[in-house]
Symmetry: C2
Amino acid sequence: MKSTNIIYHNASVTRKRRNQSNKHKSAVIWFTGLSGSGKSTLAHSLEEILFNKGCKTFVLDGDNVRHGLSSNLNYSNKDRKENIRRIGEVTRLMMEAGLIVMTAFISPFREDRIAVRNLIPDGDFIEIYCKASLETCEARDLKGFYKRARAGEIKNYTGIDSPYEMPVNPELIIDTEKETLDESVSKIVSFLQKKAIIR
Amino acid sequence: MKSTNIIYHNASVTRKRRNQSNKHKSAVIWFTGLSGSGKSTLAHSLEEILFNKGCKTFVLDGDNVRHGLSSNLNYSNKDRKENIRRIGEVTRLMMEAGLIVMTAFISPFREDRIAVRNLIPDGDFIEIYCKASLETCEARDLKGFYKRARAGEIKNYTGIDSPYEMPVNPELIIDTEKETLDESVSKIVSFLQKKAIIR
């Protein structure tokens, strides 16, 4: 700009204005649970419902993060921590951008999930524990990874040779052994309405 | 979900459906240029215009990335490369989410910008070179960083002791020494209309 026009232009489009324009609040919905506990299925099913209500949404999951943003990380405890940290920072940005962001990652360590929670304003981080026993998840074994972990072909697999730490006070618990998918999704939608995130 | 309901639910809400719902195409608008060349000012001014047209937008800049997603990176060439890589991956995700994402980073290395361009489908990556001489940028010195770099207090400062590689074929060149801010923003809006990204 010409010298007369050199004014540092701050961000004028705020989260508040985006939320007003979108007619819903932005938020982070964090699904956590064992591999096979239904995180991805729930997130994508919820997204379909929210999209049809006119909400602006996005799902972060292994498919779009592990080959991209976190492609230079492995599954050591240190790298898992950094993976969740990066995802947390991206959810924060997407929430600022006005989206209802859903994440579907095992995110096994309590400390790492708490660190993400602390990035997000109070009430805007919704932790959903997808509850299913290791037995059930292992029986489902959608990707065949449990079998390979039991055979020692995959190391540091959560539930087998790496721990999963259950949330202490999640906003919601979804029991994917007992509920149908429709029941689970309805429960989350009701929660979002009760919290005035969506109408 | 009950065992009868175990169906892997793929992402059904696609970029295409989001773009239809938002009534504009999503895209990545990548501003590059020296510190003080007007990247942030242009990005935020453009965002204000696009937001008022009803577009879904976001600006990534030093303020929201360097203290968060890239807080564990410094200004070495290696870390600058990783910083731009991460930002590139985030723009890709946000573009998938339906946003017109604008970035305001010096992003001095051609190779790193090309790597981001290669992540994004053809035509959806719009590189805008903010053209201003080092002399002009140094005279502006909005943050006092050039002075400190000249005094040796800041190392690896682009233009002083670290190179800036101009884009070879940017989609647009904005001469921020000669144009007013309004002229520059109008030029970008026209470009986006011509490319049918916005109406």
